[in-house]
C-alpha cells in the first residue's frame, strides 16, 4: 500500500516535564509515520502538545526536568532520542530542519541574510564561503525574493514579515534536508503573504522530495497543503487519516466540533458551534479520555481511567470509544444540527448614525536630520468617511499596516487625528470627538469602548477582576455606592458568561477566552453605544473564538450595540459584519454590504484578499497568490497605490489596453458598476 519509503517513524513518544505545578505530560503516547515526499499536518488547539512534539523530534529541549518515559523517534532506523548532543547536531539542520512562527525571532538580528543562509552549509557541508553565498543567492531566487542581490547583504530587520520567513525557509532548505518541520509558519503573516509562503513550501517540497510536518491550527491551510492529518488533543493523537477524509467526514467528536467552530466565507451564515470549556493545562491531564469533559456525547466509560486506543474506522484512526469495534459506545445524544442564524436582516441604514466619520486623516510626520524637520508623512488614515449605525457591525479589513487599528484608536482619541471630524451622537447632542475639550471627552468615553487583541496584555495583572471592571464605573458612575457597584459588576460578569465570584480573582487565573470576556465586561458595564473590537478574537483558538463571537452577537442583539470590528480574518467578517470597509494603505478601497463584498468583490485587491483565504471545501487548491508586500507607507506608489501589485492592471496591460491612469491618477471612491458597493478603482 505504501508507495513511498518511510523516513520518520515516531513510536509511542512521551515527553514529560517536571514543573512546580506537577508533572506536565505535554506529549503522551504519540505514534505516526512520515513518508518521503508527503506532508503531514498536525492540528489542534494551543496547549495540545503540537510544538512540544516538534521540539522533541528536533531535540531542542535544553532545560532539566524533561523526560521521555517511553518512545522512539526513528529517523532512517536511528533513534534520535539516543543520540549524544554532538551526534544530534549533525542531524539538525542537515537532515531535519525547522522553521518557526515568528521569523524575526528565528533570525539573528546582527547577521546579514547571506551569512544566516550560508551558516548551515558551511557547518554541515563544509562548503566554502563563496560557494555557500552562491547557493544562498540561488535559494533566494528560487524563493521569489525580489532583487536578491540587495537582500543578501541586508539585515533581517529591514525586511517585511513575508521576506523574513522566506529567508528562514532558505536557511532551513540550504542543506536539502529530508524532513522539514514547519511550526505555524504562516500564523504571523497576512493571508496574502500566507498564500505565497504556503505555495513556496509546497514547491520546494516537490522539487527536493522532502517530507514535511506542518504544525498549524488553521484547518483551511491543512486542506490546501497537507496529504495527511493528525489531530492532537491534550498530548495525544485523537484522529489521523488522509486530509480529505478527516476534514470532510470527521469521526472524533473533537474534530467535528473543531470544524464546526471555524467561521467560513462561503455557505450559510450559521451560529458557530463552540466547544464548551477549554483545554486543561498539561499538569491536569487525566488518564482516561481527555476530551470527555467537553464532549457532550460521552458515556460512563469515557470518564473511566482507561484511555481509548486508536480504533480504525474507514481509512481513519480514531481515539474514541464510539469506534471500538468490539464494544462500541452507544451515544444517546443525537448530533445537534447546527443552528442557522436568521438570514441576517439586511438593514437599510435607519435613523441617525451613532458615529459619523468625515474625511478623517491621521498622518504621522516623518522626521529627519538633527533639527528633526518634517520631510514627509505616513498617511496611516487618509481621508476616511464612514457612518456607523446602532445595532450594526462595520468590519474594517486589510493587511497589516493598512491603518485599520490606527483608525480605531483615532476614533477613541488614543491617537490624535490630523484633520477631519468624528461626530458622535448621544441622546442629547452631536459632538465632534476630535475637537471637544478633555473634560467633555472624558464624560463621552463611556459611550465608546475598545477591546484589544491580546487578552493577556489588556488586563493589568496587578488588579483583581473586580478592580479592573470597577475602574470605569468609578469614573462614570461616581454616585454609586460600593455595594451597588459590586452588584453591577456581578451582573455584568454573568452577562458575559462568567460566574459572579470571578471578581475576587486575578487575571492570571483565567484562560485567553475568559480574559477576553473580562475585557468585554469592563467595556459593557459602562453601557456604551459603540464598541471597537481590534482583532478581538485573533489571539484565540477557534473553539474559543466561536464562544466569544457568539457572545458578541448576543450582546449586540440584546443591547443594540454598534461594533467596529477590525480584523484580518474574512471568515469572521462573514459571520459578524453587516458592512465591510476594505482598507489599503490608509484608504478605503471598497465599501459595501458584507454579503456583496464577500461574494461579489469589485476591487481587484478585495478579490485577491478573499481568494487568499484558505477554505475547507472539497477540491480547494492553493490560490494564485497576490504578488509582493504592502509598499512602505512613507513612500506610497503614485496614482492608485495598489497598482504595482494589481492583477487587473497587469492583465489589461498584457491585452494592450491603456492603463496609464493607474500609475498617474489616484482613483476616487465611487459607486461600482456592480452592486451598491463603493469602490476605488479606475476599472471596477
Amino acid at each position: 500500500m505504501r508507495q513511498n519509503p518511510m523516513i520518520l517513524k515516531v513510536d509511542n513518544l512521551r515527553t514529560w516535564f517536571e514543573t512546580t505545578a506537577g508533572k506536565a505530560k505535554a506529549v503522551d503516547g504519540v505514534s505516526f509515520d512520515l513518508e518521503k515526499g508527503r506532508t503531514l499536518a498536525v492540528v489542534g488547539e494551543s496547549g495540545c502538545g503540537k510544538t512540544v512534539l516538534a521540539t522533541t523530534i528536533m531535540r531542542l529541549f535544553r532545560r532539566p526536568g524533561v523526560s521521555h518515559p517511553s518512545g522512539q523517534v526513528l529517523y532512517n532506523n536511528l533513534n534520535l532520542l539516543d543520540l549524544s548532543p554532538i551526534e544530534m547536531e549533525a542531524i539538525r539542520g542537515r537532515h531535519i530542519a525547522m522553521i518557526f512562527q515568528e521569523p524575526m525571532a528565528a533570525l539573528n538580528p546582527v547577521w546579514t541574510v547571506r551569512d544566516q543562509i550560508a551558516e548551515p552549509m558551511i557547518r554541515h557541508l563544509k562548503a566554502s564561503k563563496d560557494s555557500a553565498y552562491r547557493r544562498a543567492l540561488e535559494l533566494l531566487e528560487e524563493l521569489g525574493v525580489p532583487s536578491p542581490d540587495r537582500v543578501m547583504t541586508t539585515w533581517p530587520h529591514t525586511l517585511s514579515g513575508g521576506m523574513r520567513q522566506r529567508v528562514a525557509i532558505a536557511m532551513a532548505l540550504a542543506c536539502k534536508p529530508d524532513i522539514l518541520i514547519a511550526d505555524e509558519p504562516t500564523t504571523a503573516l497576512d493571508v496574502t503573504v500566507q498564500a505565497q509562503i504556503l505555495r513556496l513550501i509546497r514547491e520546494m517540497q516537490k522539487s527536493l522530495g522532502m517530507a514535511t510536518i506542518l504544525i498549524t491550527h488553521d484547518l483551511g491551510v491543512v486542506n490546501e497543503v497537507a496529504d495527511d492529518v493528525m489531530v492532537m488533543y491534550s498530548g495525544r493523537v485523537i484522529e489521523k487519516g488522509l486530509t480529505k477524509d478527516v476534514l470532510f467526514s470527521p469521526k472524533h467528536p473533537y474534530t467535528e466540533k473543531l470544524l464546526a467552530a471555524v467561521p467560513v466565507i462561503s455557505g450559510d451564515r450559521k451560529l458557530l458551534a463552540s466547544i464548551e470549556g477549554q483545554v486543561k493545562p498539561a499538569t491536569a491531564f487525566v488518564d482516561g479520555c481527555r476530551f470527555a469533559d467537553r464532549c457532550g456525547d460521552a458515556g460512563p466509560r469515557c470518564h473511566e481511567s482507561t484511555a481509548p486506543d486508536l480504533y480504525s474506522s474507514g481509512t481513519q484512526q480514531v481515539a474514541c470509544f464510539k469506534y471500538d469495534s468490539k464494544n462500541p459506545l452507544k451515544t444517546t445524544a443525537q448530533k445537534k444540527s447546527v443552528e442557522h442564524v436568521s438570514a441576517k436582516k439586511k438593514l437599510p441604514a435607519i435613523g441617525k448614525p451613532i458615529l459619523d466619520l468625515k474625511q478623517l486623516k491621521t498622518w504621522f510626520p516623518v522626521q529627519a536630520g538633527i533639527f528633526r524637520s518634517v520631510v514627509g508623512h505616513v498617511k496611516a488614515v487618509d481621508d476616511i468617511s464612514l457612518k456607523i449605525y446602532p445595532g450594526q457591525t462595520l468590519a474594517l479589513v486589510g493587511e497589516s499596516g493598512c491603518g485599520k487599528s490606527t483608525l480605531g484608536q483615532t476614533i477613541l482619541r488614543l491617537i490624535d487625528a490630523t484633520s477631519g471630524e468624528a461626530i458622535l451622537s448621544t441622546d442629547a447632542e452631536l459632538t465632534d470627538i476630535l475637537k471637544t475639550d478633555r473634560a467633555h471627552l472624558r464624560t463621552l468615553r463611556k459611550e465608546m469602548q475598545i477591546i484589544f487583541q491580546d487578552p493577556f496584555a489588556s488586563l493589568n495583572p496587578r488588579f483583581s477582576v473586580r478592580e479592573i471592571i470597577d475602574e470605569g464605573l468609578k469614573i462614570h458612575a461616581p454616585s454609586l455606592g460600593p455595594d451597588e457597584r459590586e452588584k453591577r459588576i456581578g451582573d455584568t460578569l454573568e452577562e458575559v458568561g462568567l460566574p459572579r465570584d470571578t471578581m475576587y480573582r486575578y487575571p492570571h487565573e483565567f484562560s485567553g477566552g475568559q480574559r477576553q470576556r473580562i475585557a468585554i465586561a469592563r467595556a459593557i458595564i459602562l453601557k456604551p453605544k459603540l464598541l471597537i473590537l481590534d482583532e478581538a478574537t485573533s489571539a484565540l483558538d477557534v473553539s474559543i473564538q466561536a464562544q466569544v463571537l457568539n457572545l458578541l452577537q448576543e450582546l449586540q442583539q440584546k443591547l443594540g450595540l454598534a461594533y467596529i470590528f477590525i480584523t484580518h480574518n474574512l471568515g469572521v467578517v462573514r459571520y459578524i459584519a453587516d458592512h465591510v470597509a476594505v482598507m489599503y494603505l490608509g484608504k478605503i478601497v471598497e465599501f459595501g454590504a458584507a454579503d456583496d463584498i464577500l461574494h461579489k468583490p469589485s476591487h481587484p485587491y478585495t478579490q485577491k484578499l478573499i481568494a487568499s483565504v484558505p477554505e475547507i471545501k472539497i477540491g480547494a487548491e492553493l490560490p494564485e497568490p497576490l504578488e509582493g508586500d504592502v509598499p512602505s507607507p512613507v513612500k506610497p506608489p503614485s496614482g492608485c497605490t495598489f497598482h504595482p501589485r494589481c492583477p487587473l492592471m497587469k492583465s489589461k496591460d498584457s491585452r494592450g489596453e491603456n492603463v496609464a491612469s493607474c500609475s498617474a491618477q489616484a482613483p476616487d471612491l465611487r459607486p461600482s458598476s456592480g452592486d451598491s458597493a463603493l469602490v476605488r478603482c479606475h476599472f471596477a
Binding site: L414, I450, Q453, A457, R462, F463, I475, H476, P482
Partner: protein
C-alpha cells in the same frame, strides 16, 4: 475619592514574591541580621552612653539619660553638667545607699576617656571594649553611632533622589515628545558634571553638615533613577491595558500612579539596596577625604583616616573595616536576593 472597602488583600503577585524572597535563605537571614543591627544602632543612646540610665543618690531618683543634671547635684562644686566618669562623681555615686545603672557600654561617641594613664589611641580594654580613637573616644560607641548615621544617610539619600527621579522620569516617559526632549538635554548637561569634584567644591563652599551633603547627593544622583523610570514609562504607555484605561477615561495621573508605576517599581526596588550601599560608601569616602561631616560627628570614614595615620593601632582598622564589610555584605546579600526574586530575566 471614594474609600475602598477596608479589605486590603495583598495581591497574589506580591504574595508570591514575598514567599520567594523568604525561600532564599541567605537574603532572608541577612535581612534579619541587618534589621537587628539597625534596631541596635537606633537604640544607641540606651546601649552606649556616658550617662547612667538611672541614678539613686541620697534617696532620690535621677534619670541622667534624659535629663542633664548639674555637677552640684552630685556633690560637685561647679554648676556645670555632671561628668559621670569624673573620679569624684564616681565616688559619690558608689557611696552607701547610692548606685547608678549604666548602659552596656559606658561611653557615647564624643566623651573622652579621662583616664590619664592611657595613651590614645588605646587598645581594647575592660573599659573601652574596642579601644579608643586618637582623641580617646570609645571606638565601639563611635562605630555604633556611626552605623546609624551611615545607614540613615544612605536610606534617606536614596529615598530623596529616587522620588525626584521617579517624578521626572515618569513625566518624561509618559508624555514623551518635546517635554522629554528638553528635559533629557538638560539632564545630559547636568550628568556630564563630575560628581565627586562638584561635591567637594560645594562642600567646601558651605558649612559641611549632613543636611547639605544629603541635598548635594540627591542633586547628583536622581538621574540614575530617572533613566530607567523614563524607559519603563515609555514602554508602558503603549501597553494595551494602559490604552484601555485611557479609553475608560482614567486621568493621566491616575494611569501613571495606578497602572504604570507599580510595574516600574520592580526596576527601582531591585536597585535600591545597591544604591544604599553606594550612598553609604560615598559618605565614607567624603569623610575619609575630610569633606564630609565634621568632628565630633561619628563617622566611619573619619575612623579610616585615623587608622591610616595610626597603623600600629590595629583595632581601628580591624573593627572599622569589619563594620563596613559586614554592613556592605548584608545589604548586598539582600540586594541580590531581591534581584533574584523580582527580576523577570533572572527566573525566566
Amino acid at each position: 475619592m471614594t474609600l475602598e472597602k477596608p479589605k486590603h488583600r495583598i495581591s497574589p503577585e506580591t504574595r508570591r514574591k514575598l514567599l520567594a524572597f523568604k525561600r532564599q535563605r541567605m537574603g532572608y537571614y541577612s535581612s534579619i541580621v541587618l534589621l537587628i543591627l539597625i534596631v541596635i544602632s537606633m537604640a544607641s543612646e540606651v546601649i552606649s552612653n556616658s550617662q547612667p540610665l538611672v541614678v539613686r543618690y541620697q534617696g532620690q531618683w535621677f534619670y541622667p539619660i534624659v535629663h542633664t543634671y548639674s555637677d552640684k547635684t552630685f556633690g560637685g562644686i561647679f554648676d556645670t553638667p555632671a561628668d559621670y566618669h569624673d573620679p569624684d562623681t564616681k565616688k559619690e555615686l558608689s557611696a552607701e545607699g547610692n548606685f547608678a545603672i549604666w548602659p552596656i557600654n559606658r561611653w557615647d561617641y564624643k566623651t573622652i576617656n579621662p583616664n590619664p594613664g592611657l595613651q590614645h589611641p588605646s587598645p581594647p580594654s575592660s573599659e573601652n571594649f574596642l579601644g579608643t580613637d586618637d582623641r580617646g573616644r570609645d571606638l565601639l560607641a563611635r562605630l555604633l553611632y556611626g552605623i546609624r548615621i551611615s545607614v540613615g544617610f544612605g536610606v534617606a539619600g536614596v529615598l530623596i533622589y529616587t522620588i525626584i527621579g521617579i517624578i521626572i522620569g515618569a513625566i518624561q516617559g509618559y508624555f514623551g515628545g518635546w517635554v522629554d526632549m528638553i528635559i533629557q538635554r538638560v539632564i545630559e548637561i547636568w550628568d556630564s558634571l563630575p560628581y565627586i569634584y562638584m561635591l567637594i567644591i560645594l562642600a567646601s563652599l558651605f558649612e559641611p553638615g549632613l543636611g547639605i551633603l544629603l541635598l548635594l547627593l540627591a542633586l547628583f544622583n536622581w538621574t540614575r533613577v530617572q533613566d530607567y523610570v523614563r524607559i519603563d514609562f515609555f514602554k508602558a504607555r503603549n501597553l494595551d491595558y494602559v490604552k484601555a484605561a485611557k479609553a475608560l477615561g482614567v486621568s493621566d495621573v491616575g494611569i501613571m500612579m495606578r497602572h504604570i508605576l507599580p510595574n516600574a517599581l520592580t526596576n527601582i526596588i531591585i536597585r535600591l539596596p545597591f544604591a544604599v550601599i553606594g550612598t553609604i560608601e560615598a559618605l565614607v569616602s567624603l569623610d575619609y577625604l575630610g569633606f564630609g561631616v565634621q568632628s565630633p560627628t561619628p563617622s566611619i570614614g573619619e575612623l579610616f583616616k585615623q587608622a591610616q595615620s595610626h597603623l600600629d593601632a590595629w583595632w581601628l582598622l580591624l573593627f572599622t573595616g569589619g563594620t563596613l564589610l559586614v554592613l556592605t555584605l548584608l545589604v548586598t546579600n539582600i540586594g541580590f536576593t531581591i534581584l533574584d526574586t523580582l527580576d523577570p530575566r533572572r527566573n525566566g
